[in-house]
């Protein structure tokens, strides 16, 4: 059974079909890419999986547990966490406090003070924010806040993390640093990632498999090479 199994999910907003019968399976330890133009339904899919939006039809199963109907906090405690395209730091708390909250609540079990400290330190190291730990999150640069989003998801102890455009707005150096970070996290911690990215190059290098959405429907699925050669994707994406 797949680690994350999305079965025929549809979402209708009024007359708009944001997602139409989307199915996909993510295996443990892989990096799964989601591609699509603006309004293709990527963020809606994230919201459905993470429990922020109830699907009109279909269901989501994670590690054998049915997620549909559970609250986002419950889903996080089960080991699935998302980041936000438009960053949502706890602006008035310090970087370390941001991570502490995630460590305190994210795992669903009570950790000791020293375990919490270790989780926070590890997350800070992973995204290279250790030297800013005492800054207020509001004082970080955009790149810093994007990394904080990832670190916060890591600190929850999630096994599967969904990243919503964490590269957008970063310069090429920052993008390659981010790519290296994600690769390392997968290698060292055996994490699974589902990523949405507008920076197509990054998506292609990073992903094991890619699903392409257009107007809420899946139009292509395969390895990065297969997607690169796919005719309809080329039409939709590159005109």
């Amino acid at each position: 059974m797949a680690f994350l199994d999305i079965k025929g999910v549809s979402k209708r907003f009024g007359g708009l079909m944001a997602l139409n019968d989307v199915s996909l399976q993510v295996e443990k330890g892989e990096i799964f890419g989601l591609m699509g133009a603006n309004g293709a339904g990527k963020t809606t899919l994230f919201s459905v999986i993470a429990g922020h939006v109830a699907p009109s039809a279909g269901e989501v199963v994670f590690d054998g547990t049915r997620l549909t109907g559970l609250s986002p906090s419950r889903i996080c405690r089960l080991g699935l966490c998302r980041t936000f395209q438009i960053v949502r730091p706890f602006a008035g708390l310090t970087v370390a406090e941001n991570l502490r909250v995630a460590a305190l609540y994210g795992s669903g079990r009570k950790l000791s003070a020293s375990e919490i400290a270790a989780v926070v330190d590890e997350a800070l190291q992973a995204v290279d924010l250790a030297d800013r730990r005492h800054l207020d999150a509001a004082q970080l640069t955009l790149s810093g806040q994007k990394r904080l989003e990832i670190a916060r998801a890591l600190a929850t102890g999630a096994e599967l993390i969904m990243l919503d455009e964490v590269m957008a707005g970063l310069n090429p150096t920052e993008v390659s640093a981010m790519l290296a970070t994600l690769e390392r996290l997968r290698g060292e911690h055996g994490l699974t990632f589902v990523i949405v990215e507008h920076v197509i190059g990054a998506l292609m290098t990073l992903s094991d498999r890619i699903l392409v959405l257009d107007h809420g429907e899946r139009i292509a699925f395969g390895t990065p090479e297969e997607i690169g050669n796919h005719k309809r994707v080329a039409e939709v994406y590159f005109g």
Binding site: S73, R88, V101, Y105
Partner: protein, 295 residues
């Protein structure tokens, strides 16, 4: 810490050393500390500003007046606290779905609604104010009130420094993000709401025993809510000592002005509140901190 301890010791000792007038002042100060600290358990931690805490105070007073005579006063107080908490538990879920300025005015409206309902019930029963007899001595009531102030302060401190408090801070900063990293937002908000209601219920009961007279329009007076908010905001919501500073300051000011010029007192209250929101967001506590660092 030292400030709180000194106040508590003074409060306990005052019946032996002070005049009845002094005891009255200490009773008032302790009462407002207990109320402002309780308020801060919800409003300072989550940012959900309640302008309706009079409702818990009033419910406590009402339950207490109905039960004294049938129950020993300690049990009546316990019931008063419990009923206030129960009321918060019952209305909390829908009320806490409302955010920002709407939450502020909703809590105000709710408190007024309960006030008018109780007034209606009382007048339907043909009661125009209830007297109670056999109240405990002033000293005993004072000790209870000081005890509640200490309890509320310790409670506020414990919440701020706990896992619970960290979750509430996350809710204040960003509810959606808090939920996403595993904070059970709805449950924590409700718990904070209940926690902030219980002690005001007991305070309402004690204040009733002290005046030995119940009149719904007074017990649910919105001025109580307003005073709590003002004290807490002027004192500073970022620290536990803030509400203490605010309560002590205004209780003393009220001793100076309230009996002679109540309107002037309210005007000063309003002006101070506005001035602090606009120019001293961290309150007296923040000012003290700055002075402390400068020295």
């Amino acid at each position: 810490m030292i400030l709180g301890l000194a106040l508590a010791v003074f409060g306990v000792a005052v019946p032996f050393i002070g005049s009845p007038y002094m005891m009255g002042v200490v009773f008032q100060v302790a009462m407002w500390i207990a109320l402002a600290q309780s308020w801060s358990m919800l409003s300072a931690t989550t940012g959900y500003l309640s302008l309706g805490h009079a409702v818990f105070y009033g419910i406590g007073a009402y339950v207490c007046v109905l039960l004294t005579g049938t129950l020993p006063f300690e049990l009546a107080l316990l019931a008063a606290a419990g009923s206030a908490g129960l009321f918060a538990a019952l209305v909390g879920m829908p009320v806490l779905r409302v955010r920002g300025p709407y939450f502020v005015i909703l809590t105000y409206g709710l408190s007024e609604l309960v006030r008018h309902v109780v007034m209606r019930i009382e007048s339907a029963l043909g009661s125009f104010g209830r007297m109670i007899f056999d109240v405990p001595s002033t000293e005993v009531l004072l000790w209870w009130m000081v005890g509640l102030a200490v309890l509320a302060t310790l409670g506020a401190y414990a919440i701020r420094h706990s896992r619970f408090g960290a979750g509430l801070a996350a809710i204040r900063e960003d509810e959606v993000a808090a939920e996403t990293v595993g904070v059970p937002v709805t449950r924590l908000k409700l718990l904070a709401f209940i926690a902030s209601a219980i002690i005001p219920g007991a305070v309402g009961g004690l204040a009733l025993l002290r005046t030995s007279y119940f009149e719904p329009a007074q017990a649910f007076d919105p001025v109580i809510s307003f005073t709590i908010v003002t004290m807490a905001l002027v004192g500073g919501t970022e620290t536990v000592r803030g509400p203490i500073l605010g309560a002590v300051g205004f209780a003393l000011l009220s001793e100076l002005l309230w009996s002679s010029l109540p309107q002037l007192y309210m005007i000063v209250l309003g002006l101070t509140l506005i001035g602090f929101i606009l120019f001293v967001p961290k309150g007296l506590s923040g000012l003290l901190g700055r002075i402390g660092r400068a020295a």
